[in-house]
């Protein structure tokens, strides 16, 4: 899922401090799971902002709503009728949702309440880590199911580099060396001989480098 982190409240205050009618919109999917932008986080942000404005002596209306998700039009429609009464929207969805909401309600200033970080997994509650970079050409079959593009700090396809130390990456003792993981996994799968196959130069044109991407499925288009 997409992992995000709450923006510091000082940053959010700075964005909306001159508005008087604020709608905070949360999302029930990824940002709920990583506890950054779901219904509970919306409530906490709303309460905090209400107190901030009251303390400033400013009469501000702050309302809350959490949509199923903000990356599909039908859910964004749910606020069509009520959005008119606000002068600003804070979206706690990931960057995808913030943009789609802003696009749908282009007359309203929309501010992001979270920083969108990466596509990753829940290692345990409170710990999320990156797993996928969306390169567009998945090579997981040849690396025992561990991605060197997202988990190697140098995205080496023929690693490890000389900085791998005791299974950890040279940039941090807390970061596993992806290639150590791959080698261990290949051993476990009894496929260590595949290590010596040279992975070819990657076609990055399906990655961000090739430009903003789009998937079109003519067979399902209406």
């Amino acid at each position: 899922m997409i992992i995000a982190e709450k923006k510091p409240i000082e940053e959010v205050i700075e964005m909306v401090k001159d508005f008087r009618k604020i709608l905070i919109v949360g999302c029930n999917e990824c940002v709920t799971v990583c506890e950054a932008g779901g219904k509970r986080e919306v409530a906490v942000l709303a309460s905090s902002l209400r107190m901030y404005f009251m303390n400033q002596g400013k009469d501000t209306q702050i309302d809350e709503v959490t949509l199923e998700r903000q990356c599909d039009r039908e859910y964004l429609e749910e606020i069509r009728n009520r959005i008119e009464q606000y002068d600003v929207v804070i979206s706690l969805a990931c960057g995808v949702g913030v943009q789609f909401l802003a696009e749908t309600y282009s007359r309203f200033p929309v501010y992001p309440g979270v920083n969108t970080c990466f596509m990753g997994v829940t290692e345990e509650r409170g710990v999320w880590s990156e797993r996928c970079q969306g390169c567009g050409q998945c090579i997981l079959g040849s690396t025992g199911g561990i991605c060197p593009i997202s988990r190697c700090a140098k995205r080496l396809l023929n690693g490890p580099c000389g900085g791998s130390t005791k299974g950890k990456c040279e940039i941090s003792k807390d970061l596993d060396c992806a290639w150590q993981l791959i080698i261990d996994r290949l051993k476990e799968l009894d496929r260590l001989d595949e290590y010596e196959q040279i992975a070819p130069i990657k076609d990055w044109s399906t990655e961000r480098a090739g430009g903003p991407r789009r998937v079109v499925r003519e067979d399902v288009r209406q």
């Binding site: 700090a153 140098k154 995205r155 080496l156 396809l157 023929n158 690693g159 490890p160 580099c161 000389g162 900085g163 791998s164 130390t165 005791k166 299974g167 040279e170 940039i171 060396c177 150590q180 080698i183 290590y195 010596e196 040279i198 992975a199 070819p200 130069i201 990657k202 990055w204």
Partner: protein, 309 residues
């Protein structure tokens, strides 16, 4: 093996003689004197001089320009190229730039992560990795073609090298990794500096068991300790470095003023011992900020004079 390039380093290795290389770090400024001075000190004691490429991600005068300065002095340079900062277009372009000055040696490296340097907030590239860079240079040289498929006018004639670290983790794939570099087309190796001779000789034995010593020239890396402090630092703070306790003890056992001498003695003994190690075809002396000692090390190791052209 017969020579494929005009590289002097290749010629010496091919002749069966032990080769000696060293390295210089470029300055953090544009004064070429910083390079030319160091190079003048060691030119008669080495067969080729490596110029590092923004090592440890610290921005310096680029390796290519420094190599050109060396070439203009009549010294044989080895262009070190990391894949951290340049995409495949720039890499191929710089290779051609080097070739236009008849620079004939290249060392293909990954590069330390930018986090360690002076621009930790910068992007990194890693469009291709060091293994693929080896393949690329060979392709440009032997096929005479760009990666994109077009012909290269006056293809580069480069002797292609790579680094190897017998002391990095995991040890079990260090020789398979060497094999991979050989398969990718690397023609010479410069190893990380050696203090743990037993481990290095074990790595060499495993390499010989696979016949790799006959497919690639291995140059053993050595670095003299200036002090026990340096030994401890390298033992504890440098990833992929193996400094055995008894080496540190030996440095500590001598009074401070005598430590540099002891460090050089250890270095010379290492070279003497490794001369007997089958498959070691030369030495890469990395005397960081101590280039003035290279002549002494070469002489005391019985490697002077160097073969004349």
């Amino acid at each position: 093996m017969s020579v494929k390039t005009p590289s002097r380093l290749e010629k010496i290795l091919d002749s069966g003689q032990l080769a000696v290389t060293s390295e210089c770090g470029p300055p953090r400024g544009s004064d070429p004197e910083a390079i030319t001075k160091k190079a003048k000190m060691i030119r008669n004691y080495v067969d080729a001089i490596n110029i590092t490429d923004n090592q440890t991600s610290v921005t310096r005068l680029c390796s290519l320009a420094a190599c050109i300065h060396l070439k203009l002095m009549g010294i044989e340079p080895t262009l070190q190229m990391v894949v951290r900062d340049r995409n495949r277009i720039a890499l191929q372009s710089d290779i051609l730039g080097a070739a236009s000055f008849d620079i004939h040696n290249i060392l293909c490296l990954s590069g330390d992560h930018q986090k360690f340097g002076d621009c930790p907030q910068g992007q990194n590239v890693f469009d291709i990795d060091s293994m693929q860079l080896i393949q690329t240079v060979r392709h440009m040289r032997d096929e005479g073609k760009f990666l994109g498929g077009d012909d290269i006018q006056r293809p580069p004639q480069m002797f292609v090298g790579a680094a190897a670290n017998p002391f990095a983790d995991p040890f079990e794939i260090r020789v398979p990794r060497l094999a991979k570099k050989v398969a990718a087309g690397a023609e010479f190796i410069q190893t990380q500096c050696i203090y743990n001779l037993d481990k290095f000789e074990l790595w060499m034995k495993q390499a010989r068991d696979r016949g790799l010593h006959e497919k690639i020239y291995i140059l053993a890396g050595v670095t003299p300790f200036k002090s026990v402090g340096m030994a401890k630092y390298m033992k504890n703070r440098v990833p992929g470095m193996d400094v055995p306790d008894d080496v540190v003890k030996r440095m500590a056992g001598v009074p401070k003023e005598k430590q540099p001498e002891e460090g050089i003695a250890i270095c010379v003994e290492t070279i003497q011992r490794l001369k007997e190690c089958e498959g070691v075809r030369g030495f890469h002396i990395m005397a960081i900020e101590w280039e003035e000692k290279v002549p002494e090390i070469v002489e005391r190791s019985g490697l002077y004079p160097r073969p004349r052209d």
